[in-house]
């Protein structure tokens, strides 16, 4: 099978290009996706390739153009709305929650909203308190949405196509800090399955359940643990809503121990939900209480050393797991 070294950014761009080529109804709209080339250069060159009807620069109007995306989806298009970063998504959250997520149910099944909203998320570029949010948990709370998190190059390349086939609104979180990361990429025929979590590494001693930037961190930690004779299984949630209980619970049932790792701050997070579900379903299989390693409960500060301290790092995953296993 052919492999090649490719950045996460390039994966995202190829996915968008392919979507634009494959379906006339698809268009990309958002702030600076065109002339600027994308705030993080993800859509660079696409304006030249596809023209301004398919790559639409919007004014600073997050609520407005997200709402317009919903309307265009109702009107038969397949818009990809880019919210430049998750930090600005709250301005559009009313549109997302009250319209996109609600119209189908509220209209008694009449009006589905085939809209994809992409946004760049997370910490890691020293952008400080108003530009470093990990608000995936807010979206994961909202019924009617499918919420995806792009934790690997594979998903960066292959999640968009199935998301655009989904008849309902899909939120995709991409991670700014991973854009320049290079990896080998295996082609995935027919796109990835956006209803399932994915085991990124098999193991028998503990399940590390994570998503987003946590995936490669967990794999790094798992490699280190392996050297110490501990086989950690790495579960990439990928779908933060609706959660894939089956994969999660099967892993924990197998390993009897779980630690959940996420950058988002701890209280009322995806981790808390996963923890609660594991307890509810695998309580008697557990050899130790489910643990969480989450982001600190602070607005993210600018300096690198504090930014690093604000989210779980591989070393912490390693030491938490070692401690947990000794205690078992």
């Amino acid at each position: 099978m052919a492999t090649s070294l490719i950045t996460y950014r390039e994966c995202l761009k190829q996915a968008i290009r392919e979507a634009l080529q494959g379906d006339e109804r698809v268009f990309l709209m958002g702030e600076d996706v065109g002339h600027y080339g994308g705030a993080f250069a993800v859509s660079k060159g696409l304006l030249q390739e596809f023209g301004p009807e398919r790559i639409m620069d919007t004014p600073l109007s997050e609520a407005g153009f997200t709402g317009a995306g919903i309307g265009a989806a109702l009107g038969g298009m397949r818009p990809i709305v880019e919210i430049m970063t998750i930090n600005f998504s709250l301005l559009a959250l009313d549109q997302i929650a009250n319209n996109a997520a609600t119209l189908l149910h509220m209209s008694g099944g009449q009006l589905n909203v085939p809209l994809v909203i992409r946004m760049s998320a997370g910490i890691g570029r020293q952008l400080a308190a108003q530009h470093s949010h990990s608000w995936e948990p807010l979206f994961a709370h909202l019924p009617g949405l499918r919420v995806l998190s792009v934790g690997t190059h594979e998903d960066a390349r292959y999640m968009l196509a199935p998301a655009l086939l989904d008849p309902d609104p899909v939120i995709i979180f991409e991670y700014t800090s991973m854009l320049n990361l290079e990896q080998e990429l295996q082609p995935v025929e027919g796109g990835v399955d956006i209803s399932k979590a994915k085991i990124r590494r098999e193991g028998k001693d503990i399940s590390i359940i994570t998503y987003g930037t946590g995936v490669y961190k967990a794999l790094e930690a798992a490699a280190e643990l392996a050297a110490a004779g501990i086989e950690a299984e790495v579960v990439d949630l990928r779908v933060l809503r609706p959660l894939d209980d089956e994969t999660i619970l099967a892993s924990v049932t197998k390993t009897s121990r779980a630690i959940i790792v996420e950058d988002a701050s701890r209280s009322v997070s995806v981790s808390s939900e996963v923890s609660a579900r594991i307890t509810e379903n695998c309580f008697y299989d557990l050899d130790a209480p489910v643990q969480r390693l989450c982001g600190a409960e602070v607005p993210i500060p600018y300096p690198k050393h504090l930014e690093d301290a604000a989210v779980p790092q591989p070393a912490q995953i390693v030491s938490a797991i070692k401690k947990l296993l000794q205690h078992a």
Partner: protein
């Protein structure tokens, strides 16, 4: 067109059939809502119920300028628009009763009437939340080169929201065919126009976006029709948005929870003198486009339809609890 939109103008007589149809529509809204209010007090209808009574000339006057392929979006005060758009009174009433034979399986109720078939996109209860949707629907039409417009109704209160500003700017920037219709009934719940807007001449807001704007006396059906015809024709011709302010008044409380502490009874009475229904029917009587007997026949027909709607709604069933979660997500994945 009168800028302030307060003068009634003498207009050419209408074709008798059209005239009667329009009168019928206004009457249907009036009686349908009177009955709905009654059923509310009998607890058959619950939640919020916002009556359009007094404002009928706006929906009727604007909607006649639209075509079946055009998109329509309304607020939570949308029974009138739904009825004029051709949604069935029976099915609307069933929805307001919360029965599964309603347009939305009874899930939406009064505030959320939707009918995809008639391109009636709600029934939207987040004030100004539907304006951007209208822009998007029009954008889709433009992209797909469908020759149709999107008509979006909202209140003057909605214009204070940031959502109004963004939608107007996007529509103008993208040059998409949206007819924005402000139903200026002078109050947003209990907040008078002067407490909502620093600039109370609402048409001036159009200029901030380079959008052509006009105001019209919303109590005068024929004036509204004329203004709406001009507006719709302009949108169709230019493909650009247009902003029409219809100055009107609601005779009833904001919703059934409203004690109306914020306005004088005298003010309400004064506006009732300008009730669009007698105004229009008197014109028709004078112009001999209508006889007293026709009027009575119309009333009878409307009353019967309303009664039928009630009977139908009463006969309808509840959505089973087991089905509550259906359509949170689509059942058919592509």
């Amino acid at each position: 067109m009168a800028k302030k939109g307060t003068k009634t103008k003498t207009t050419a007589p209408l074709a008798p059939e059209l005239a009667q149809k329009l009168l019928y529509q206004m009457l249907l809204i009036r009686r349908f809502e009177e009955k709905a209010a009654e059923m509310y007090t009998k607890t058959k209808i619950r939640g919020f119920l916002h009556l359009y009574i007094g404002e009928e000339a706006v929906a009727v006057g604007v909607m006649q300028a639209l075509r079946p392929q055009d998109n329509v979006l309304g607020t939570y005060r949308e029974h009138g628009h739904a009825l004029v758009r051709g949604l069935e009174p029976n099915v609307i009433m069933a929805e307001m009763y919360g029965r599964q034979e309603g347009y939305c399986r009874g899930r939406g109720g009064s505030m959320h009437l939707f009918d995809a078939k008639r391109k009636f996109f709600g029934g939207n209860a987040i004030v100004a939340g539907h304006l951007a949707l209208a822009v998007g629907l029009a954008l889709a039409d433009k992209k797909m080169q469908r020759n149709q417009l999107t008509c979006c109704f909202f209140g003057e209160g909605a214009m204070a929201e940031g959502a109004f500003h963004e939608a107007m700017n996007l529509a103008a920037l993208w040059q998409v065919p949206v007819l924005f219709v402000c139903e200026n009934n002078l109050y947003a719940m209990g907040t008078a126009l002067r407490y909502t807007h620093a600039q109370t001449d609402l048409t001036l807001k159009g200029a901030a976006y380079g959008i052509t704007a006009a105001a019209v006396d919303g109590m005068d059906l024929q004036a509204v029709m004329e203004a709406a015809n001009t507006a719709a024709a302009t949108v169709r011709k230019t493909g650009k948005p247009y902003f029409l302010v219809c100055n009107t008044y609601r005779f009833r409380a904001h919703s059934m929870f409203d004690a109306e502490l914020y306005r004088d009874k005298a003010e309400v009475e004064e506006w009732k003198q300008r009730d669009p229904i007698p105004a229009f029917s008197n014109t028709l009587l004078q112009q001999q486009l209508l006889a007293e007997a026709d009027l009575q026949a119309l009333e009878a027909r409307v009353n019967e339809e309303v009664q039928q709607a009630i009977d139908f709604a009463e006969s309808c069933s509840w959505e089973p609890v087991e089905e509550m979660s259906r359509f949170t997500y689509s059942e058919k994945k592509t």
